[in-house]
Every structure is written in C-alpha cells, then in structure tokens.
C-alpha cells in the first residue's frame, strides 16, 4: 500500500515538474519571438549568409586572361588552343611570338596565365609519346592560380584523351588530372557545408550562452535557483527552443542549397540529418559551457564571436584548405567541431558516401559533445554552490 502511495506521489511530482518545464520552455519562446534582433539573427542570417557566399565570395574563376606562345603551330597545338578559346574559363587575349615578351605581358595586360608550347609539339608527341607544354601563371593570388592550373591541365588532358581514342597510341602530354565530385569546381559545393557548420554553431552555442548569461545579468537566475525547479531543468529548458530553431535553420539551408544554389544532396538525407543532430548537440553543450563560465551577455557574445566564430571561419577548412596551413594551426583545427562537421557533410552531401565513411567524424563529434556536456554540468553545479 505504501509502495503505491509512493508511486502515486512520484508520478504526481513528475507531472508537476513536467508542467513547470513546459511553462519554462514556453517562456523561452516568448523571449525569442518578442526580440526583433534575435528573430533577425535566427531567420534572416542563414539566408543572407548563403546568398552572400553563393554569389560574391565564389571561388570559381571565370574568363582568366591568357596569352599563348606557339612555336610549333601544328595540328596538336592548334586543337588545344581551340579548346582554350571555347572554354568559358579562359579568354585568349594574345598570341605571342617571342618568349622575351612574356614578362612584360603580365605587367601590361594583367594576364593570369601564358601557355607555352615547345618546338615540334606534335612530332614529339607522335614519335616519343612525350610533349612539353609550360604553364606560366600569375601566382600573386595562390587560390585562383591553383584553380586556373587545374582548369588548364584538365583541358589539355581532355585533348590527350581524344587523341588516344583515335590513334590508340599511349600519348603523354601531362599527368592526367580528373576533378572528382565537383567537375566544374563549383564554389557552392565547398561553402554550403561551411555555412551549415557556421549557422548551426551560431544559433546553438552563441544564442544559448547569451540567453543564460542574460538571466544571470537580470538576476532572474537567482530567483529560479531558489525555486523548487531543478537546475538541470532550468538549463535544459533553455536549450530546447534553440534546438528546435536550429532544425528549422537546417531545413532552410538545405532547401536553399538544393533549389537555389543547385547543390544536390547526393547521399542519404537521413544520415545527413542524424549527423547534424550530433553536431547541434555538441554546440548546445558548448553554449552551456560558455554560459557556465561567464556572467554577462557581452562576454558571452565576445567569447562565442571571437573564440568560436573566428577559428571556424579561418581554420575549419571552410575558406582555406587545412592541408595548406602551418602544422600548428592544423593541430588547432583538430579541436574545432565545425571542421569535423564540414568534412562529414561534404562526404554525405557532396560525395554521396554512406554512414560507414563518416564514422570517424561522427565519433569525434559525439566524444566532444559528451565531454562538453559533462564539463558544463559540473561547472554549473560548482558555480551554483
């Protein structure tokens, strides 16, 4: 009998705490919906970022100005030059006769590249199976230089392929480079995962930490702690609205990238969402950890802005390839959750790989999330005492 009474009491208590919890979650939504700035950040920022990155910070290079020095002027070189003329990535500005002109051309005509064919190009190719072509590229912007070289080698490679089909002789012009997954080197393929990583972090980590810091600043946190509501519920109720909103944002980004930017989701949508949920979990815990350390909204904003955003932009591989960074920064990039998320999203979304391919990224993120959530809960408990 006593057991049943206890059970009834326990259930009743649970019901009350569930009610408390829900009234709290409702209050959080009021805070969000009634603050114009928050609403703007939540709804407009993701769209703005996608469009901004999509149309202005594109890494595609079109209409590069090139000049050509063709000492051979034979059937092979003419065919290759024709291919360059037909490419939208290149516009052939000049035919050069003398190698000594080249240096000046870069300065005067702001050329991006000069293509130099050696003597007897076709003869060498036909007899020895080896021909030389030199690409002289303006390296002052290494990123676009790299892109241009890749375009040019793929054009030459395409000619080589045609030739070998006709003659069945193993010709060798250049090492054949085929661009995997992103044959047109579309910028969007690169930055959509990056923007996803950034937005989800912004919503989860930054907004959560600011909203908890706000309660501390206003003194309402103190009143809540004196109330019979369990601290864990107070904190959980803070994360739920941002969790819901980050799902809305995830959907917005995916819809925009598929229909506006024409980046298809090559792999499983289910695993993409599951993987994103893990990442959201990491960032919510990160937000909790920040808010357990700081007492003011401003500090929360600074920490999430400087300590979180900057490394994500610079070191996550979103803008600059991690492999090209100094070893020290490569090492730092390992502890940035967004880096792992971006790699994973690229694998599923762009390359169309399955779950087994993202197991490393998934486990790293899960591990980070668990460590962060334990650290922040411990810290909260310690701070509240």
């Amino acid at each position: 009998m006593e057991f049943f009474n206890n059970l009834r009491d326990a259930l009743q208590e649970r019901q009350i705490s569930m009610k408390q919890f829900m009234s709290f979650v409702r209050k959080e939504f009021y805070h969000i919906f009634r603050d114009k700035t928050t609403m703007a950040i939540l709804l407009i920022l993701p769209i703005l970022m996608l469009v901004l990155f999509g149309y202005s910070i594109s890494t595609e290079v079109k209409n590069s100005k090139i000049a050509i020095l063709d000492s051979s002027n034979d059937v092979a070189t003419r065919a290759i030059i024709e291919k360059f003329r037909n490419s939208e990535y290149f516009s052939v500005k000049k035919m050069v006769n003398n190698p000594s002109e080249i240096q000046d051309l870069f300065k005067k005509d702001r050329l991006n590249m000069v293509l130099v064919f050696g003597d007897n190009f076709y003869e060498n190719l036909a007899h020895t199976g080896n021909a030389q072509v030199q690409l002289i590229v303006d390296g002052s912007d290494p990123n676009s230089a790299k892109t241009i070289v890749t375009y040019a080698t793929s054009i030459i490679g395409a000619y080589q392929l045609e030739l070998s089909k006709i003659d069945k002789i193993p010709f060798q012009i250049n090492p054949q480079i085929k661009l995997l997954y992103n044959p047109q080197m579309k910028g969007a393929y690169n930055f959509v995962p990056g923007v996803m990583g950034m937005i989800l972090m912004l919503i989860c980590a930054m907004m959560t930490s600011i909203s908890i810091a706000r309660e501390k600043e206003l003194g309402t946190m103190e009143v809540l702690l004196v109330s019979p509501m369990k601290p864990i519920y107070i904190i959980l109720s803070k994360t739920i609205p941002y969790f819901v909103l980050s799902l809305v944002n995830l959907a917005t980004i995916l819809l925009l990238s598929v229909f506006l930017l024409k980046v298809p989701i090559a792999g499983s949508l289910f695993w993409l969402i599951a993987f994103s949920l893990v990442y959201i979990f990491v960032n919510l815990s990160l937000g909790l950890l920040i808010s357990s350390i700081v007492d003011s909204q401003l500090v929360a904003l600074l920490i999430s802005g400087m300590v979180l955003m900057l490394p994500v932009i610079m070191l996550s591989g979103m803008m600059f390839p991690v492999e090209n960074m100094p070893v020290f920064f490569q090492w730092i990039s390992q502890i940035i959750p967004a880096k792992w998320y971006i790699i994973g999203v690229k694998k599923i979304m762009i390359k169309g790989l399955g779950l087994s391919s993202i197991i490393p990224e998934m486990s790293v993120l899960l591990g980070m999330g668990i460590v962060l959530v334990i650290a922040s809960l411990k810290n909260f408990k310690y701070r509240l005492e």
Partner: protein, 246 residues
C-alpha cells in the same frame, strides 16, 4: 510561539576564509525579521544557506521545519524569494510573469487564474494585466515582484535588499505590503541598508565579521547601545569590524 527558522552554529568556510562564523538564532511565525550587516559581513552567504542554495560547512539549520542540509528541495518549496533586482521578465506581460512563477511553484492552473485576478485587483493593476513589465514604473515592478514572491503562500519570504533604488514614498507603501503579509502569517526575513527600515522590523540581527553581534527588538537594541536610533546602534557595531567590505 511556533519557530519557522532555527539556526545553530551555522558556519560557511570558503578555503581559509570563514564567511559565516557559528551563527545561532530563531525566527518565529509571522515575524518581520531584519537581517542587517555591512557589505562583506556574511549576510548574503547566510541567506543563501537558508534558501537551500549553499550547503553549510557545519552547524544546523531548519527552515519551515526542513533541514537545509539534507532537504533543500522541501525548503525551496516552502519559501519565497525576492532579490534587489526584482527579477521579473521585462519582455513578458504582467499576467505571464505571474503564471510563470505560479507554475514554477506548482500552483494548479485554475488556482493561478483565480488568484491572478484577485492579485491584480488588490494592487489596482487590472488595466496593466496585458502590459509588458518593462513599461511599468519601478515602484510597481517592486510591488509586483513581492506579490509574485508570495503568490504560492510560502511559510517564509526572503527579501534581499528589496527597496534598493526606490523613493521614500514607494518604500513606505512597500512596507505596508510587508506588514499585510506578516498579518496573514507569512514570516518575513529581510536584509536592508536603510536604518529607518530596521526600525519597522519586529526584531533585528546585526552581523559583524561573519558573527551575529546583536539580536533584539529595535527598542531594546537602542536601550542597550544607548543610541537614539538604529543608525547609532549600527555604527557602534560596524566600528568593531576588522574585515574590509568587498
């Protein structure tokens, strides 16, 4: 008389520093108990222990009949709390604030609705039901915050410097609300910096360097220290302090 707070040798140490040093006192039902002391004397720490926020290092404390060390849940359920910052949500409407705090303390929904109407009527706030709290004048916020703190009919309400930054007329009105609550049997435990307010209390304790150096009715304290008012009493005691205010 029924005791609602019983404290014996309550102590809190932070490392080598003894914030609260073996304090003992009792508070009776329906009493207005003034808890005074200079900044850094240990008032806040003592109060946080009584509210179940901070576990004591040693000593015993019963609040509303529950042990503050082992039954902090029950303690929290039976007390109300109002801080200096009033702690209402500015971007919530008046009735939303009431509903939220009522809900946190587990007051049933239909009772919240009924009591909200009564409360707004008593305060003369009927027209402000749907106003955002940020649009209310400071004195109104203070009254509302107090009403919210005792909305769930707690046995004891803790007020942490509730009149900071409020003008004298509003302070006077606020004390009338405190008297009303005490008449209804709610014990009021209040800290303050204003010595004229100390005169309004039934009994006053004064903390110096983590100890309670004086505890009696304002009248007896003035006799004991041969002072004209509570300020005189306080000054004499504060001079003993060796600790610096933080």
């Amino acid at each position: 008389m029924e005791k609602v707070i019983e404290v014996q040798n309550l102590t809190k140490k932070f490392g080598d520093f003894t914030a609260v040093d073996h304090i003992s006192f009792e508070v009776y039902k329906g009493e207005i108990f003034g808890f005074l002391g200079a900044n850094g004397a240990g008032k806040t720490t003592a109060m946080r222990m009584l509210c179940g926020l901070l576990p004591p290092t040693s000593g015993k404390g019963l609040v509303a009949g529950f042990d503050i060390h082992t039954q902090s849940e029950e303690v929290k359920r039976n007390i109300g709390y109002m801080s200096q910052k009033f702690a209402l949500y500015e971007d919530l409407k008046v009735w939303e604030n009431i509903r939220l705090y009522g809900g946190i303390y587990g007051v049933p929904e239909d009772e919240i609705i009924k009591k909200t109407d009564e409360l707004l009527k008593r305060l003369g706030f009927e027209k402000e039901r749907n106003s955002f709290v940020k649009s209310l004048p400071l004195g109104w916020k203070q009254k509302l915050a107090f009403s919210v703190a005792i909305f769930h009919e707690p046995k004891i309400v803790f007020l942490d410097e509730p009149t900071g930054g409020v003008d004298p007329v509003t302070r006077r009105q606020f004390w009338e609300m405190i008297y009303e609550a005490a008449d209804r049997g709610i014990t009021v435990f209040v800290t303050t910096h204003y010595m004229d307010e100390a005169e309004y209390c039934d009994r006053v304790s004064i903390m110096v360097d983590g100890r309670i150096d004086a505890l009696d009715s304002p009248k007896n304290l003035k006799n004991q220290f041969k002072a004209n008012n509570m300020d005189g009493v306080f000054q004499q005691l504060a001079r003993r302090a060796s600790r610096k205010a933080d």
